[in-house]
């Protein structure tokens, strides 16, 4: 099997500017040997899906702390699927109430990581899920 690094798009959708988490995750994933593309702030779901397709990523990590997750996340999943990225994982990190987590997962989000999550847990999750598909 050819050595292919796991490719992840780290994205900040919506108007929220809190990018501490997104940047820490991006660096931790890079340090774990993954290819990471960070979109920068204020990306629309359309921009995120287009970047995911262009960069041919295995996963999209979305960071949202503003409460707009119920609007933004399902749309990102939907746009990825419309572009034929059926296997692309969608990870969400941020301040997400418990009852929203269940709904987001039903709508196709692979996993939701809350404040306090270790970056190692996210690395492990990506390795297991992307590795299993290879």
């Amino acid at each position: 099997m050819a050595e292919r690094k796991i490719r992840v798009l780290v994205a900040k959708p919506g108007l929220d500017g809190h990018d501490r988490g997104a940047k820490v995750i991006a660096r931790a994933l890079r340090d774990a040997g993954m290819e990471v593309i960070y979109t920068g702030l204020r990306q629309t779901p359309e921009m995120i899906a287009a970047a995911a397709l262009q960069e041919d990523v295995d996963a999209v990590g979305v960071s949202i702390l503003s409460g707009a997750h119920n609007t933004l996340c399902p749309r990102i999943v939907q746009l990825l699927r419309e572009r034929g990225m059926d296997d692309c994982l969608v990870l969400v990190g941020g301040i997400i109430p418990q009852e929203d987590i269940t709904r987001l997962k039903e709508q196709g989000v692979s996993e939701v990581f809350l404040p306090g999550t270790s970056t190692e847990d996210i690395v492990r999750f990506l390795r297991e899920r992307v590795g299993a598909r290879a």
Binding site: R20, K23, S66, G67, A68, N70, I95, E99, P115, G116
Partner: protein, 559 residues
């Protein structure tokens, strides 16, 4: 061992004696819990502080009396014995009606000042009906798109009597204009209005990232508000230079101190360059700091802040009025320290952080609610946060004495260390040409990112303990009631916006916006035209679009 000829002071000699005779035998029998003890900023803390650690600190010159230069021990000679700090809880969510009700509730419970949280569309200068506002209206704060919203927000709240702090930055001049027009409609005298506008755009580029325009025109807007307020609203604080967000973005305590005060210097320099007199406008510059977990480090930070500011104002800017040299600040407990896990533990974190703010001599304080790592606070959580302050103020006795930690070997030596570290950063930033240039080079941004990453690694190694997260972890299944923002807020806000647009004189709006563009393009003060525009019910988005046309948009340097 190489021979050294260091001069040992009697103080150092007595420490050495204690180390040899008393400490060493104990360490041999029982080593300490860890090899290195460090603060939450990952800065090493010594075992013991003694007179040897404060040898270079002169009481008269460096510490002195409260109410006297360099104000290390506080700006008031009576501390909190004269007046307690202002209990100012940051609040805002949903519609202006809902936030107005929360304001009135908090005031009934003994809160002494108001503080408005605006939602993200407002912070970014977009109206509720903008496509970019979808999913965000009323979520992180209250939604305000025009004067019609502002009128509801402050309905029944006399702006001549209550001091209101507004957390708004990129479009701050527009919200200030709306606030003043509401006050005018209440019949208030501008010369009696006091309160605070955050209006600190530099820390937006550094940390919080809610920007609109490029840095230099954005700085010009800030200076416009300084000029306008100095002349017409003299008791109002047109800026709150904020370290809070710098810290939340991951800086150390020392970086928070250094970047915030260096931002302050930048504003003063721009004001002076615009022809303002330091002793006229600087007394109304206020500050805003974080209160994080490491108790003594925080207290030292506040004490150092006062000392540095006093000296910089006197020596760098030639201030003569003591009020110019007195750093006044607001404190908020560290949102970033709150945990989703075992959320009631946050009450204790907040209490300890708030105590640090008080022992550091804060002028006003916001205590976070225990459920804020989950959502905006419920009424119950917001009430406990306020009660925490009231207990500190009225039960613990800490407000009875001025600067009770002054003279502590540890606190004085840490205060000096904070000061020295900040001055080193000033030197670096001055060498780059100033803070605007440093930000353009990405310097403070990179320093903060690096600290944030090192902290995360330290937590994951277990070097830094977070109770409930990496130690004393429990399985938790019981959900906690949280505040749910009604998804219908946007529809209600769009409706009010449409009604306001239908009622207004469209000609007056477009005239005022044209006038604003001309003032912006000519480099004139934009405040008069901004006030005229909002008085005619030009919306926030329309006013910001007019300025976007003239100034353009900020582009963040690549990560």
């Amino acid at each position: 061992m190489p021979e050294t000829k260091e001069i040992t002071s009697p103080e150092q000699a007595s420490v050495e004696r204690w180390e040899n005779e008393t400490l060493e035998p104990v360490l041999k029998k029982r080593p300490e819990r860890r090899r290195r003890f460090e603060t939450v900023s990952l800065d090493e803390v010594g075992r013991l502080y003694t007179p040897a650690d404060v040898e270079g600190i002169d009481f008269e010159r460096d510490t002195a009396f409260p109410g006297e230069f360099p104000y290390t021990r506080g700006i008031h000679p009576t501390g909190y014995r004269g007046k307690l700090w202002t209990m100012r809880q940051f609040a805002g969510f949903g519609t202006p009606e809902e936030t107005n009700a929360r304001f009135k509730y908090l005031m009934q419970q003994g809160q002494t000042g108001l503080s408005v949280a605006y939602d993200l569309p407002t912070l970014m200068g977009y109206d509720a009906d903008s496509p970019l506002s979808e999913g965000e209206v009323g979520k992180c704060g209250v939604a305000v798109s025009s004067l019609a919203d502002m009128e509801v927000l402050f309905d029944g709240i006399p702006l001549e009597e209550v001091t209101v702090s507004q957390t708004i930055n990129a479009p701050a001049s527009v919200l200030l204009a709306m606030y003043l027009v509401v006050a005018e409609k209440q019949g208030a005298d501008f010369r009696k209005i006091s309160g605070t506008l955050q209006n600190d755009i530099l820390k937006e580029y550094i940390a919080q990232k809610e920007w609109i325009y490029p840095i230099r025109p954005a700085m010009k807007l800030v200076i416009d508000t300084f000029e306008f307020c100095t002349r017409h609203v003299p008791k109002y604080n047109p800026i709150s230079v904020s370290g809070y967000h710098i810290r939340e973005a991951g800086s150390t305590a020392m970086q928070e101190l250094a970047f915030t005060l260096r931002d302050g210097i930048e504003y003063v320099q721009w004001g002076v360059d615009a022809g303002l007199d330091v002793d006229e406008f600087v007394p109304r510059i206020s500050f805003f700091f974080n209160a994080h977990n490491d108790f003594f480090e925080e207290i030292a930070k506040y004490r150092a802040a006062r000392r540095i500011w006093a000296r910089v104002m006197r020596d760098r800017f030639g201030a003569r009025d003591p009020r110019t040299m007195q750093l006044r600040f607001h404190t908020q407990t560290a949102g970033v320290s709150l945990t989703v896990q075992q959320p009631l533990n946050n009450i204790i974190r907040v209490a300890v952080q708030a105590l640090a703010g008080v022992l550091g001599g804060t002028q006003s304080l916001h205590t976070d609610a225990y459920d804020e790592a989950l959502a905006l606070p419920t009424d119950k959580a917001a009430l406990i946060a306020l009660r925490t302050q009231q207990i500190i103020a009225e039960e613990t006795g800490v407000a009875n004495t001025v600067d009770p930690l002054g003279g502590s070997y540890f606190v004085e030596s840490l205060t000096k260390k904070m000061e020295d570290g900040a001055l080193d950063y000033f030197e670096k930033i001055d060498a780059m040409g100033g803070m605007v240039e440093a930000i353009e080079k990405g310097f403070p941004q990179r320093e903060i990112q690096e600290s944030a990453y090192q902290y995360q690694k330290s937590v994951e190694r277990g070097d830094q303990t977070i109770v409930g997260v990496n130690k004393y972890v429990m399985d938790e299944s019981d959900g906690m009631p949280i505040l749910i923002i009604n998804e219908g807020v946007r529809d209600q806000q769009v409706e009010r916006l449409e009604r306001a647009k239908a009622r207004r004189d469209a000609g007056a709006v477009s005239n005022a916006l044209e006038k604003l563009k001309r003032a912006a393009a000519a480099g004139d003060n934009t405040m008069p035209a901004t006030i005229e525009a909002v008085r005619a019910y030009a919306t926030l988005g329309e006013v910001c679009d007019a300025l976007r046309d003239v100034y353009g948009l900020y582009e963040e340097p690549a990560f």
